[in-house]
């Protein structure tokens, strides 16, 4: 599902460098990415999703060489194949939570909105515990509720790959468990692979594999 080979990435003007020899996630596999802050977890996730492109090496997702795609094609690929749950939610403040969850259907030609999608949105919101907040705006919700809304948006398109950047970071333990259950349960239902960044050791046993990003890095490729 995901294969990163001999990738090198450096932010322009910064000394941080991420270099990975080989990283693989299989179809339907659930992987937790761990590591200290600044080790490159989010950068790796952004390289996989095509938000960033490596200076060298290859990133293959679902058989497609993502870093070789043109910008527009990479955007289209991400929209259609990857469910993204960003760390800072990335909700649009002028849309209601319902509209935010359904926004992937309005930003590209790959996905078309249907009534079925509306029902799916309500079902996901119900299971995430934010059904009552669907017609509110993001600023009216708590951090945890916004986090759950972002998760619902990542799941609504039923993508083959889910990338979640600390989706439980703003939640209490009870809600953390619910959200991870929703994420993993939904992924299992649609056969999606999951790559999730977390700092919570209690959640790790629920994943098929745990990868420490620091150990993936090539020698000499550290910050």
């Amino acid at each position: 599902m995901i294969r990163c080979k001999k990738i090198d990435f450096r932010y322009p003007g910064e000394s941080f460098q991420l270099s990975i020899d080989d990283f693989f996630v299989g179809k339907g596999e659930t992987v937790a990415l761990i590591g200290p802050s600044g080790c490159g977890k989010t950068t790796l996730m952004n390289l996989i999703s095509g938000i960033l492109t490596p200076a060298e090496g290859s990133v293959t997702v679902n058989g497609v060489l993502v870093n070789e795609l043109a910008v527009a094609a990479r955007q289209r690929f991400r929209l259609a194949k990857i469910g993204l749950v960003p760390q800072n939610f990335e909700l649009l403040d002028y849309l209601t939570i319902r509209e935010n969850i359904l926004v992937p259907f309005h930003i590209g030609a790959e996905l078309r909105f249907s009534e079925e999608m509306g029902e799916r949105c309500e079902d996901l919101a119900e299971r995430a515990g934010i059904a009552a907040q669907l017609d509110k705006f993001p600023r009216q919700l708590s951090q945890g509720e916004r986090q759950r809304a972002a998760l619902c948006r990542g799941l609504v398109t039923s993508p083959p790959l889910l990338l979640a950047d600390e989706p439980t970071g703003n939640l209490d333990p009870d809600n953390q468990d619910k959200i991870v259950s929703l994420l993993l349960g939904e992924a299992a239902r649609i056969g999606a692979s999951v790559l999730m960044i977390t700092h919570d050791p209690l959640l790790l046993p629920r994943f098929g594999r745990v990868v420490e990003v620091g150990k993936l890095r090539r020698r000499g490729g550290g910050a």
Partner: protein
């Protein structure tokens, strides 16, 4: 690109920021509408004024403001205009240089001007009776199409003149006139006028009146002789004047003094050719107290001034418009800056570059397009309301 998605997101953004959007729309609409609206109104006023002015060869009136004479003689406004005696109108007619049609436009009935004239006026303006008949007797009136429509008048109804002042000690009573005809609409000031015979206009002004025969009146309604041997019968103010002219009392209406001294406000002068027009003009350049003017020439002068003012106003509006456009551009730029985070979020989710570009442009395009539409609607409204506005301006 997802066109419907761009529309969906763009409209939601504008809805959420409706105050900013409405302010931008109002500002841009005014930028387009004000110069175009002023141009349209001026063009319509010019067209209407010129059409009537060009159709009126010359106007004779008391010396004074030529423009006021034009407005009275053509549009029946400026009732306070100094009058000239009918004698002068007759003299102009007797010169053989032109046909002359007197106009007496001083009195009114409600908001409508009562215009005293002769039957020649109807031929000259090609006014046709749509319903009823032409003026035949004293106390009759023919109303314009607008007067008939607004007041639901038809032949057989009555119109009552409005006294100049409420407490008129001179005893000028309102006169009840019978509507005998309604004119076909002409989209001109004639539509809003009530036409009467010149003598009826003088009666309304109090220069003629009707009452019971003096011999049949009581002694206490008569004044004592001015001197011994004075046989003239003089009546006091207790004598009731007729306020309506009917076939029964029409013969008892009379004028004191010489009607040649009675006033008209203007006279339309129609020379048969340019030579006679020039000869006639020559007469009145020397004649003291009177003026003979060409309405078209006066309109040229008026609009030369109007256009100078219009150019100045348009220059100011252009400067204000440019400033508004620059401020608008700044607002769009700042808006784009403020939305950079939003666009980054959308890019992360997978919005394609074309969709993002369309979203960036949507606000500006929407404001420009809708403000142009609103300006178009405003111009249509001005076009629709122009006759009313022009009427008010001329009033």
């Amino acid at each position: 690109m997802n066109g419907s998605g761009v529309l969906y997101l763009g409209l939601r953004y504008l809805r959420r920021n409706r105050v900013k959007t409405l302010l931008l729309l109002a500002a841009f609409t005014l930028v387009w509408l004000l110069p175009a609206g002023i141009g349209l109104i001026v063009a319509k006023v010019e067209a209407q004024l010129r059409a009537r002015a060009v159709g009126t060869p010359l106007l004779l009136g008391q010396a004074g403001s030529p423009l006021e004479l034009v407005f009275n003689g053509l549009y029946f406004t400026k009732p306070e205009l100094a009058t000239l005696p009918l004698r002068e109108v007759e003299a102009a007619a007797e010169s053989g240089f032109a046909q002359v049609i007197p106009i007496h436009a001083r009195q009114s009935a409600g908001t409508h001007r009562i215009v005293g004239t002769t039957l020649d006026y109807f031929d000259f303006r090609r006014l046709e009776i749509q319903d009823g008949r032409q003026l035949l007797r004293l106390g009759e009136c023919v109303v314009g199409a607008g007067v008939a429509e607004k007041n639901e008048l038809a032949p057989g109804d009555a119109v009552i003149s409005t006294p100049g002042t409420l407490f008129d000690l001179a005893g000028v009573y309102p006169l009840k006139m019978t509507v005998v005809g309604v004119l076909a609409p002409t989209a001109s000031p004639d539509d809003e006028a009530i036409f009467v015979d010149l003598k009826t206009a003088w009666i309304i002004e109090g220069l003629g009146h009707g009452h019971d025969e003096a011999e049949a009146l009581d002694e206490d309604q008569k004044l004592a002789p001015a001197s011994p041997g004075d046989t003239a019968v003089r009546l006091n103010a207790s004598v009731v004047e007729y306020n309506e002219i009917t076939p029964e009392n029409a013969e008892r209406f009379h004028f004191h003094g010489d009607t040649a001294d009675y006033p008209v406000t203007a006279a339309i002068v129609i020379p048969p050719d340019d030579r006679k027009a020039a000869l006639l003009k020559g007469r009145y350049t020397k004649a003291g107290g009177l003026q003979l003017i060409s309405p078209a020439g006066e309109m040229d002068e008026l609009f030369a001034t109007v256009f100078r003012v219009q150019r100045f106003v348009l220059g100011l509006l252009l400067a204000i418009g440019l400033a508004t456009l620059v401020i608008g551009a700044l607002v769009f730029l700042l808006s784009h800056r403020l939305r950079e985070e939003e666009f980054r979020h959308l890019r992360h989710l997978g919005a394609d570059p074309a969709t993002l570009r369309a979203l960036v442009a949507f606000e500006a395009v929407f404001v420009l397009f809708v403000s142009l539409l609103a300006s178009g609607a405003g111009l249509a409204l001005i076009h629709f309301l122009a006759p009313f506005v022009i009427g008010k301006l001329l009033g």
